[in-house]
Amino acid sequence: MYRYDEFDRAFVKDRVNQLRDQVSRRLSGGLTEDEFKPLRLQNGVYLQLHAYMLRVAIPYGTLSSRQMHKLAHIARTYDKDYGHFTTRQNIQYNWPTLQDIPTILDELAEVDMHAIQTSGNCIRNVTADQYAGATADEIEDPRVWAEIVRQWSTLHPEFAFLPRKFKIAVTAAPNDRAAIRFHDIGLAIVKNDAGDVGFEVHVGGGLGRTPMVARKIRDFLPRHQLLSYLEATLRVYNMLGRRDNKYKARIKILVHETGVEEFTRLVEAEWSAVKEGTIDLPADEMERIAAYFAPPAFDALSNDPQELFAARVADPAFAAWEKANTFTHRATGYAIVNISLKPTGGIPGDATSAQMDAIADLAEKYSLDEIRVTHEQNLTLPHVRQADLPTVFNVLVSIGFADANIGLISDIICCPGLDYCSLANARSIPVSQRITERFADMKRQHDVGDLKLKISGCINACGHHHVGHIGILGVDRRGEEYYQITLGGSADENASIGKIIGPAFSSDSIVDAVEKVVDIYIGIRQDNESFLDTYRRVGLAPFKEKLYADAA
């Protein structure tokens, strides 16, 4: 993984000192809150319902054990002993004081981390496939390019005050685990007919109150020209994106209102003017960054070692966990391990300092010192020897993170909601907790099968409800929390936006309604058909009819 050298360290140190100066000017009254707000936001500092919140960047979701230990230390020392892993592969602390924040950033800088551009109307933390470098189905490690984009976008002088926030995601696998079609720019690494590696460029995806699937504006961009193409795209957006209405300011609205053909023409025209410039990386610099992501030296091992067989037979709980939570590794004898941060009744994405420390230790001993954060608010140990899986499982059991529910109905994406967030209309965490309790029977969950359930506490859609196979949106109805259900959304390569099924449900009836939707699916599915496939076959009508039949 990428390691800071003297240049990166000096840069981050400068940036922390700059924020320290800004905080002191704010505290002494030299900066108004209006002037301070965008400055603190571009350093990840929010003002929430009850306190300041600090969002720390975890570029493309990759962490070393040393970094995870530091995150645990910060939770213990400056917060209430926990942190919250987010859908953008970051971590949030909900209770730091403003005075402590520069010190927290100093601590982060000690382990090559920062909170730069985790908020504000700028280019945000770049995200990537959490299986990067470990999965067999990728063309190359997308993190090389995510890191190149991270560096280019960091304190980019032209794009610090865009019309609105800007999110870029990169994947190199045909199975899109990074939801690139719901980003402002989604980059898919592809090979052309000549065998050259480049990017398919998707622009204008997003969720929020106007969900849109990104439009493809380029089939193949030679990879060494990525930065000039991004610069051209961002420049067009910076100059033409709407600034009169923050709800129409994302690039998706510009693409939609301009038309994708005209937008593409504008980008290509700008690109043809900038691409001969100096923005694209020199080859040696590209190689320097790529070298950090060279595949680790995997041992020559065989699949399904004896220890694994024995554990499967001896412990059915292990066998169920292995089946649900591990994924095929590119190297034989290894596995990708997903750690579910979705225990029954828990808060999706939350981890205590003790849990973080335990996971850091696991990574150091069993995963070549690497941890990944997933956009589904789980963690991943990317490089685990299959023979070590039983040991890893037992440690996860001891810290309460061994639920065998990856991809199942209780593996819920959920925003912080009204428990924390000043924008929310309704609580989302308690609904998520009650759904996991209702479906606590693992046998039943496995019978239901692949089902992505996502909950947002307001229309800003931080819980990705639009792309849930089942989505739940909290709304305010005359001061009461109500919940609208959508069906059929999907964030993967076959992207779709969920459709609202009908009138919203009260907090008391929402869990029954979800259970009913699941039962309807069980009743009409054919063979091993998944929920999404069933929905795509039959549409909304049968669900709607049966869901509201009793209420009529």
Partner: protein, 167 residues
């Protein structure tokens, strides 16, 4: 009155803003709006005055691309510091249109944006807060290096001096 900072120092401002409905004076250095320029272009050129042009946010420099060489100064307006369009305009003027005159930031110009403005090619700043005037030099160097080439000469990750853009 804002303080004019030019090339890092407090400077006397020799420019006079010419209101859209005022007569063209006989002499001086006048700053005109895009509207006025488009209306009275020929008369302004004939006047022999030293000319400056003010572009508001939303007034793209490409709209006066052929005339850029006629101006000694171009002022770009930041209607709010959070409106970043002028950063792109500045780069286009410097890099695309080879504008070598004074490029002035006006409007909501604050110390925490000086570095970005400077990197995008601004060399003059109309500053309203006294504290920001004092902080100017530090604000440019508080982050001393950068990850992307722009129009200043700070140290750039992965590039040597020959790799920088010429201003």
């Amino acid at each position: 009155m804002p303080t004019l900072l030019k090339n890092g120092s407090v400077a006397h401002d020799p420019w006079t803003q010419l209101a859209d409905d005022s007569a063209i004076p006989d002499q001086g250095m006048v700053l005109v709006s895009l509207d006025r320029w488009q209306k009275d272009r020929d008369a302004l050129i004939e006047s022999g005055l030293t000319l400056g042009l003010q572009l508001d946010a939303g007034e793209h420099p490409d709209s006066i691309a052929d005339d850029i060489g006629l101006f000694d100064m171009i002022a770009l307006v930041f209607p709010a510091f959070s409106d970043g369009r002028a950063y792109s305009y500045a780069r286009l003027l410097r890099e695309r249109h080879d504008f070598v005159g004074e490029l002035r930031a006006v409007g909501d110009v604050l110390q925490d944006q000086f570095m970005y403005m400077h990197r995008c090619g601004f060399d003059a700043f109309e500053v309203k807060k006294e504290a920001d005037v004092i902080a100017f030099a530090d604000a440019l160097t508080i982050v001393s290096s950068a990850y992307q080439p722009a129009l200043d000469d700070r140290r750039i990750r992965g590039r040597d001096a020959s790799n920088r853009m010429a201003a």
